[in-house]
C-alpha cells in the first residue's frame, strides 16, 4: 500500500508530530503508517483524509502487486 501522507504533510508544512496530534495517534505510530509498515484502520484513514481535506483514495493507493 502506497500513501501520499508525506506530500500532503509538506503541503501544510506540518511535522509528523503535528499531524499525529491532529488525528490522535503517537508520532511513532504515524511514522509506521507513513513508511508503509502499518496499514491504518478505515476510521484513521478517514480522519487523516479529513484533516488534509482530501479523500482516502487520494491518500492511499494499492501497490502494483495489489497489496
Amino acid at each position: 500500500m502506497k500513501n501520499t501522507i508525506k506530500v500532503e504533510r509538506a503541503k501544510k508544512n506540518w511535522t509528523q508530530a503535528d499531524l499525529a496530534k491532529h488525528i490522535g495517534i503517537s508520532r511513532q505510530g504515524l511514522n509506521s503508517i507513513e513508511t508503509g509498515k502499518f496499514v491504518p484502520s478505515t476510521l484513521l484513514a478517514l480522519r487523516m483524509a479529513k484533516v488534509f481535506n482530501t479523500t482516502v483514495e487520494a491518500l492511499f493507493q494499492l501497490d502494483d502487486s495489489g497489496m
Partner: protein
Amino acid sequence: MKCLLIFVVIKQLYVMERSKKTLNQQSIISALIYGATYLPATWLLKHQVFSQPVSIIIIIVPVIAFAIFIFKYIKAFSAMDEVKQRVQFEAVVIGFSLTAMLMMILFLLGLCGISNSFWFGYGLVVSYCWFFYFIGWLISRRKYGA
C-alpha cells in the same frame, strides 16, 4: 469565536493525551506492584514456615496484584492508538505461543523422565513467560518502528 473553538479542541486533545499517559503509567505501576509482591511472597513461602491460613493470605496478595495489573493493562490497551495496540497484541501472542510451546516441551520431556525442576520449575516458567513477552514486544516494535 473561532479562537475559542481552537482553544477547546486543543484543551480536549491535551486532556485525552494526559489520560492516555496516566493509564499507561497506572498499568506500569501496577506491574511493578505485582513484581514487588510476587518476589517477596515467593521468598517467604520458600524460606519460612507459616500456618496454612497465613500461607494462603501470602499467596492471595500477589494474585490480587496481578489481577489489578491485568485490569489496568486492558484499560491502557483500549486507550492506545492502533499501532501501539498491534505491537502489544503481537507481543502477547508471541509471549503466549512461546510459553505454551515451552510448557508442551517440558510436559513431553517429563513423560520421558527427562526434566530439570531447578531450571524449569513453575516459578521460573512465569519468568520465562515475561521474558517471551518482552522478546515479542521487541520484535513487534522493530517491525512497526513504533
